[in-house]
């Protein structure tokens, strides 16, 4: 090798290094931080869970117990477990179907029929999913149990006809309660889709002479199928992960979360719990695949330059129908909230009616819940702010910069969204409980982290959906004028996507204030939250205290949502898109 040649080579090398340092790494770094965070707090726990699923049974220990298929053998070899699996599938699928049957017409009515108080309807129509399901289940017993006030009243009315309605216990009750709890997902998405769909398409079809049903069948419905698919999946995941409703009104019909409780709390066997969690994830995965398959055949790109006002039905019949439908659904699904508000002023509700009027339940909040209130607000607000920052930066990078591995990042962020809460909790517990490398149980950090892992998708999706509709020309103009990407992001993009950040954050904050399923496995003496206290109060039959605390949360949450809904441009449904 000649000296000259090697000099050129060296020159090229220095150039490369120079170039390397001249490159802007800020994006890469900002991309890597969340990736590392996700790797530690999501992928690692999930991997541990997967590995544990193949360990021998553990008794009150987190240590390695040897490789074995015992967990799966127990599962598939026990009649009770198989029955629970079948119950879970039946309940979740039925709930999904019923939620679509209720949510889509209601969404259509609110979006396309001229009725008063739409913002109030939309705000009220999200409350059912925001109450801890455990509390909801108890109120259904008070309303529709053997001794429930609504059931007794209906049976009294039906008496002349010789008919009685059965009590709530069993499969039917579970499906009913979960449907009335989860239909808001479909309703909000359908409302968003119907009011956001491109009106020009329908108008042109109408001009060309298509009838209303034809337009509905060939244009309107196909356009909302992606939203529908996403909300159906959300409902399915929530339903299959719900522990509270089956525990209170399922009777002998056990479901998968029941089995996870048997394994973890009953037998102290986190490995068996992991095996069940893995089976749970496989089912969810299959449903996700099915959903993607259906939606992929119905994905349309619509080009909408301007947002035209959508034509609304104004006929008397349509308006009457819409109002009656919305009222019936809202009244039934908000009965638990009403029950709780009534109950909060009474000592007990053991018979048909509540007895012992009192203010004490509220007075006790100041005496006994100040620490818990502080924890709830501190944890939820901190996690929400972090989700807002994280979620919007991540969405911006993946959507605008499309770096290598964006798909992986996208999948990782969305994973907790489609994983049942019990599964995420078991994963976090098996990774950070016990004598693991990171022992974080009982700290504020673990709660904030788990909240972030589970809720960042809201802001992320909301912002990503907003960015795809946003013409990048403004951002390009800023970049061409010499601004760095971060400056552009801060000064140009953020103001434009603010409504999306807010709606995602509101969804995050309101659901976190009521979070129970993750908190209950990870809290400690210093990090007790209000939902934990509600759960304990319900458990010891102190429904008055539970109701007063729930009412306080309910009012805070409703105030936040209503304030947001009265603002322009914010739309809760965008934070649920997949």
């Amino acid at each position: 090798m000649s000296a000259k040649y090697s000099m050129i080579e060296n020159g090229a090398e220095t150039n490369k290094i120079k170039k390397f340092f001249q490159k802007d790494f800020s994006q890469l770094i900002i991309f890597m931080i969340p990736m590392i965070f996700i790797a530690i707090f999501l992928l690692y726990p999930m991997a541990i869970t997967l590995v544990r699923a193949f360990w021998a049974p553990a008794e009150y220990t987190f240590k390695f117990t040897g490789w074995s298929l015992e967990g799966f053998r127990t599962f598939f070899g026990t009649k009770l477990y198989l029955k629970a699996l079948i119950n879970s599938i039946i309940v979740s699928l039925s709930v999904t179907i019923f939620c679509i049957l209720i949510g889509v017409p209601m969404g259509y009515c609110v979006a396309r029929v001229k009725i008063p108080g739409k913002k109030l309807l939309v705000s009220l129509g999200i409350l059912p999913i925001i109450m801890p399901s455990f509390v909801g289940a108890y109120t259904w017993v008070i309303l529709l149990g053997n001794n429930g006030i609504v059931r007794v009243a209906i049976n009294w009315l039906l008496k002349p006809f010789g008919v009685t309605i059965p009590s709530i216990y069993g499969m039917f009750g579970m499906i009913l309660c979960m449907t009335l709890t989860y239909y808001p997902f479909v309703f909000q998405m359908a409302y968003g889709a119907f009011s956001g769909a491109n009106a020009l398409l329908e108008e042109s079809a109408s001009l060309m002479g298509a009838g209303r049903t034809r337009i509905m069948r060939t244009i309107t419905l196909p356009l909302i199928i992606p939203s529908l698919g996403a909300s159906a999946l959300l409902v399915f995941v929530r339903a299959i992960g719900n522990f509270g409703i089956p525990a209170v009104i399922g009777g002998n019909n056990y479901v998968l979360p029941t089995l996870i409780k048997f394994a973890y709390s009953g037998a102290g066997d986190i490995n068996l719990a992991s095996s069940i969690a893995v089976i749970n994830v496989i089912i969810t995965g299959l449903v996700l695949y099915l959903q993607k398959y259906i939606v992929s055949r119905h994905e349309y790109e619509t080009i909408s330059a301007t947002h035209t006002e959508i034509k609304q039905h104004t006929s008397f019949g349509a308006r009457l129908f819409a109002i009656i439908l919305c009222l019936i659904v809202l009244i039934f699904s908000l009965l638990p909230q009403v029950t709780i508000i009534v109950m909060s002023f009474f000592k007990r509700w053991t018979g048909l009616l509540p007895t012992g009027f009192t203010w004490e339940n509220y007075a006790n909040i100041f005496k006994k819940s100040s620490h818990e209130l502080f924890n709830s607000f501190f944890l939820s607000i901190t996690a929400t702010l972090m989700c807002a920052v994280f979620g919007s930066i991540l969405a911006y990078i993946t959507e605008r910069k499309r770096p290598k591995g964006a798909a992986l990042l996208d999948l990782s962020i969305m994973a907790p969204f489609i994983l049942p809460g019990t599964v995420v909790s078991i994963a976090l517990l098996s990774a950070f409980g016990g004598n693991g490398i990171f022992k974080l149980t009982g700290t504020y950090a673990i709660l904030i982290i788990s909240y972030m892992i589970r809720r960042t998708p809201y802001v992320y999706r909301s912002v990503a959906a907003n960015l795809t509709q946003l013409n990048p020309s403004l951002e390009e103009a800023s970049t061409i004028s010499g601004a760095t990407w971060f400056y552009t992001f801060r000064r140009v993009s953020v103001p434009l996507i603010m409504p999306a950040i807010i709606s995602g954050s509101v969804m995050t904050l309101t659901t976190l204030l009521q979070e129970l399923s993750t908190t209950i496995l990870l809290y400690g003496a210093k990090t007790r939250t209000v939902p934990i206290q509600i759960f304990n109060a319900v458990n010891e039959n102190n429904l008055g205290r539970a109701s007063a605390l729930s009412t306080v949360l309910l009012i805070v949450v409703f105030a936040i949502i209503y304030t947001m809904n009265t603002r322009k441009g914010t739309d809760l449904s965008s934070s649920m898109k997949m």
Partner: protein, 327 residues
Amino acid sequence: MKKLFVVMLILATVFTAVFAEAAAENKGAEKMELVILSAGKESESEALIEAFNKEYPNISVTHLEKDSGDVLTLVQQNSSDSDVVLLIAQDSLIPMAANLYPYKNVNDAKFDAEYKDPEGRWYACSMPLQTFMYNTDLLKGDDVPKSWFDLADPKYYGKIVMTNPSSSGSAYAQLYMMYKLTGDLSLAEAIAKNGTTYVTDSKSGPQAVARGEYALTMTGESNVSSAMANGSPVNYLYPQEGTGRRIEGAGIIDGCKNLEAAKIFMDWFTGKGGAEVIRSVGRRPVSTEVGGPDFLPALNELPFFEYDAIEAGDLKKQLRADFNALL
């Protein structure tokens, strides 16, 4: 739009300030801290802390409640941040004894050998005796069952609610008692076949009976006395064959952060002060210095049969699996 964030931030700051101040006021001059981990109810922890703080206002106590199975996992793993475990049933207490700190408290001499660990790792505080609890509006006079075997009587078809032994320690204790009565699971099977509902949470059975959703359940007697104190239309009946003599207790977690405060607490808890609170919340203290709980019969009036906590522990896995195969 930014306003909402600003409002949120302000809210966060205000809450932090207000509650941090409130928390600061609670603490006395000479500060000690203590964390208790209880398998009992939240209101029971609150009652204990209130009484304890009257004598020791300088010790700031925080509490958390978990199922006894969860407590066992936490303690065996040294992964709890707590100092003292409370109200843990004997079948969970014995396996965790090695992880408890041996401390002979000032009341040691008052405890019979069966009510304490020989090295002082745990002391019994109360007895979680299991009894029938029935709704007095739904069952009257001769309709009230008298024997364990009555639960299989077709006249109670669909009226009984029990807890699945896989999810609760006390429900497992009931299953083990049925096993002791017949030497197999034939009684448990007959009851299961009698349209009995097995809920997954030991607290919801007694609540359902208090509400009149079901007529009858088997539960810890403290649930009956607290429901009666609350004015619910319920009553107890101890089955004529007897009920298992079980105990629950407390101990200091080995390697805990606040050992001195924990010792002070155990000295108080095992004495008359602790027993008074145990009695007042409806539990049956083992201490003879105070009486039994309100509404419930005295200890010497109750029929008992042998309850072998160690054998119960050994058979737990098998009996639970066999029982679940019956459902």
